[in-house]
């Protein structure tokens, strides 16, 4: 597989050398990176290799499903130009999201520099290999996402058109990669060292939120009948929109249209991606590399600062609420401190919080807004149950980090059962990152709908707490922040989100039904959830998380 992928680069040898890279070294580095991706193991479990391969398949499957959704939407579009235009926009958006959420870590990864930099390899070769590495994954993703659209294109516009469409998809990937490079260089100009890393983190969070917002609002605003007959007019600025010239290119060759307008599109499509990738290799990557080296150098010095030692008021308030057993306090405390400092955690968790806000926003502000009507309705349940996203994102966010070999300390402690660690961890994260967001919103809800909804707020809180615990206890008991985030890991998110939405709907609906059954019927849920939480925390976890289970997925060296 790796051999095959690498052989695809052979025809472009001259181009790679032109950009100032040593071709043989380039291929070697790429081979190394791909081999490492292939072997990246999750813990020491016996079937760990199988697991990562599955992740790639699952991810591809999720993307294809996504592609199907989009292709059905495209199917109703009549104009070929509009069809390809939307297809390219969709692709670019998805790739941009992927680069920002997944590949930033790869582009900024300096860990292999220790090995590679002392060798006589030019910086260009390294960066180019790094870009090529991202490019391979992006191409795979582009393939998965658009394979169905290409099939649809065959039926609608003929096989030639579909083939040319495939070529432009490839060019689109190159172009998007170039844009990503420019974007990151821009950010790197703004800051350096530790600051830059934080800036990147917040940038990623903001972009992720923006994409989610655009998607939610976009889906809600699309009017299907309108799109069907939509023909995009070509204005002077259309020539500056990348998806437009890609689709103009396809249209020109599929229908033999070679007027001025199409010739312009053709010229753009032929020249811009190639020139941009040439510029990336020749001029951008050297700058990128230099900046990256500064980043590494500046790292140590800028981090030396004294951390405050006294725990905050919020911490002292949460301890008696969540901790009733002495041995859970230290893990609670540990996670409380670390979640505030682990970049990967913040990066993956904050967007999910924002997602909740977006759901709420879309619920209330895209439709006609009427305050009186709102107060009469039960729509506060939507707000409350939207928080169930935390139940999935919090446990997952606790996994990733760069502390692969620090888990030995947990094993050396005199503990009969590791359960108290995991109880402390999830409670700490929950208390620090869920309660402070849920509480103010609950206050607002009680203010708008009246104090009579307070039991509902409590029920929703208990339901979400219960599900957070269940999600955490059901995933592999890896000690926190010890799993490497790899390029092919992010897979199952789609399936998980679907399952979650279903859970939220079921729980919310159950709650809603009870509200309408008879007065105070909903109160029955409080003891039910309380008992369930008690059972999960006092009985279930001790059976589920044992040292055998924990030893299976963690290494102590």
């Amino acid at each position: 597989m790796i051999r095959f992928l690498l052989s695809l680069f052979t025809p472009f040898r001259w181009f790679i050398e032109k950009m100032g890279a040593d071709y043989n070294q380039f291929i070697r580095i790429l081979e190394l990176q791909l081999t490492m991706d292939n072997r990246r193991m999750k813990g020491i479990g016996n079937n760990s290799k199988k697991e990562t391969e599955n992740a790639l398949i699952k991810q591809s499957f999720g993307q294809i499903v996504f592609g199907i959704f989009f292709a059905t939407f495209l199917y109703i579009v009549k104009s070929s130009f509009t069809f390809y235009y939307f297809a390219h926009i969709f692709l670019m958006t998805m790739m941009a999201m992927m680069i920002i959420s997944e590949f930033t870590t790869i582009l900024f990864d300096t860990s292999e520099n220790v090995i590679i930099q002392p060798l006589p390899i030019r910086g260009n070769t390294i960066s180019l290999a790094r870009n090529a590495h991202v490019f391979i994954y992006l191409s795979l993703m582009a393939f998965n996402l658009s394979v169905i659209s290409v099939i649809v294109a065959i039926f609608k516009f003929g096989i030639v058109s579909a083939l040319i469409f495939s070529v432009t998809i490839f060019l689109n990937v190159l172009f998007t990669l170039f844009l990503a490079n420019i974007l990151y260089l821009g950010i790197m100009r703004l800051a350096s060292g530790e600051k830059l890393k934080n800036l990147l983190m917040y940038f990623q969070i903001v972009i992720a939120i923006l994409f989610m917002l655009a998607y939610q609002v976009g889906i809600n605003m699309v009017d299907k009948t309108h799109i069907q007959d939509m023909v995009l007019p070509v204005y002077w600025y259309t020539y500056f929109v990348p998806p437009a010239f890609f689709s103009g290119f396809v249209e020109a060759f599929s229908f033999n249209l070679f007027d001025i307008q199409h010739l312009l599109f053709i010229a753009e499509t032929m020249i811009i991606p190639l020139v941009s990738i040439y510029l990336t290799g020749k001029y951008l990557t050297p700058v990128f590399n230099r900046k990256l080296m500064d980043l590494e150098q500046g790292d140590r010095a800028s981090k030396v600062k004294v951390e405050s030692t006294s725990p905050g008021l919020w911490y002292r308030m949460m301890i008696p609420v969540f901790i009733h057993r002495k041995e859970e306090k230290a893990p609670f405390n540990l996670i409380w401190i670390m979640t505030g400092r682990e970049r990967l955690f913040i990066q993956s968790f904050l967007p999910s919080l924002a997602y909740i806000l977006i759901i709420i926003f879309v619920q209330f502000f895209t439709k006609s807004f009427n305050y009186d009507e709102l107060v009469q309705s039960n729509r506060y349940l939507v707000i409350l149950y939207a928080f169930i996203f935390v139940s999935a994102s919090l446990p997952v966010s606790l996994l990733n980090g760069n502390n692969q070999h620090a888990a030995w300390v947990f094993k050396t402690m005199p503990l009969l059962s590791p359960a108290c660690y995991f109880k402390g961890f999830i409670k700490g994260a929950f208390a620090r990152y869920f309660v402070p967001f849920f509480l103010p919103l609950s206050v607002i809800i009680c203010f708008v709908w009246g104090i009579k909804v307070l039991p509902d707020v409590i029920i929703a809180f208990l339901a979400i707490y219960l599900f957070t615990l269940l999600f955490y206890y059901y995933q592999h008991p890896n000690f926190p922040f010890g799993l490497e985030k790899s390029a092919n890991q992010s897979g199952t998110a789609f399936v998980k989100i679907m399952g979650l939405i279903l859970t939220a709907v079921i729980l919310g609906y159950l709650h809603y039904l009870l509200l309408h059954w008879f007065n105070f019927a909903n109160l029955m849920l409080i003891p039910v959830y309380l008992l369930a939480i008690y059972y999960v925390n006092r009985v279930f976890i001790y059976k589920k998380i044992t040292w055998e289970e924990v030893d299976e997925v963690n290494t102590y060296s």
Partner: protein
């Protein structure tokens, strides 16, 4: 001297898959001693230490520590044992104080006690100013010092060290050596795995040499010396582990360069 046997190892065997790394190890270790556990790379040193600390649970044979069975009474044993691992990997985003507070609390120490002890121990290593800085900024030697301090917090009776001196500067090495001798005088037992022959030779009451998972020499340096007439531990080590043709190998090494 009235030494009692606190570690008894009977026919200890360990396999990783098909590969057998420990072959029927039998040892008795008396309290108040410094045991130097030496052997070439891959001899099974770290594996032995990890088994004795309870990091590795599946092994063959019987191990008793403080008269308790390692398999069934692991928790009681862990309470009295300190462990300093080979690779100084810690949670980078924590400060030494936070790390030690965690360990102290998990071991049931009072927070106040943990803090004063941590300060005192770190002060010995001249690291008091670093107590509240993140471990990510520390050099390897500094991390090693944090590890040593955190392993001693609960005043263990038996201390396992896997290469405790790696990365330490000369002053710290001398200090740790002195510290070990003091600990042994107080009746504590130190089980010490290392490559550094000269250190082992100087401070160990007893030297255990293993190779390919087997004990091939055991005794004080004087005893071993009497039997074999090697002028130092290094010579004995190379003779016993079967690598006597160093100069030939070095030559082959040079030749490999010239090709």
């Amino acid at each position: 001297m009235n030494h009692q046997s606190i570690v008894e190892i009977r026919n200890l065997e360990k396999k990783y898959g098909q590969k057998q790394v420990l072959h029927a190890i039998n040892l008795d270790i008396q309290s108040g001693q410094i045991i130097g556990y030496i052997g070439p790379n891959g001899a099974g040193k770290s594996t032995t230490v990890k088994i004795l600390c309870g990091l590795i649970n599946d092994f063959e044979g019987d191990v008793t520590i403080f008269g308790k069975d390692l398999r069934t009474q692991t928790i009681d044993i862990k309470k009295q044992v300190g462990y300093i691992p080979e690779n100084a990997v810690l949670y980078e985003s924590l400060t030494p104080m936070e790390f030690m507070e965690f360990i102290g609390e998990m071991r049931g120490l009072e927070n106040e006690l943990t803090r004063t002890k941590a300060e005192a121990l770190m002060n010995i290593f001249e690291m008091k100013p670093n107590l509240h800085q993140r471990i990510a900024t520390f050099s390897k030697g500094m991390r090693q010092k944090v590890l040593i301090c955190s392993a001693l917090l609960h005043n263990p009776d038996l201390i396992f060290m896997d290469e405790p001196l790696s990365g330490l500067d000369a002053n710290s090495v001398i200090m740790v050596k002195e510290m070990l001798i003091h600990l042994a005088r107080e009746g504590k037992t130190v089980f010490y795995s290392s490559h550094l022959m000269d250190v082992v030779e100087k401070i160990s009451d007893r030297i255990i040499l293993i190779d390919q998972g087997k004990v091939i020499a055991d005794g004080s340096f004087e005893e071993l010396n009497r039997l074999s007439n090697d002028e130092n531990l290094e010579k004995m080590f190379t003779r016993l582990t079967g690598n006597t043709n160093h100069s030939e190998k070095a030559e082959a090494f040079i030749n490999a360069f010239e090709k």
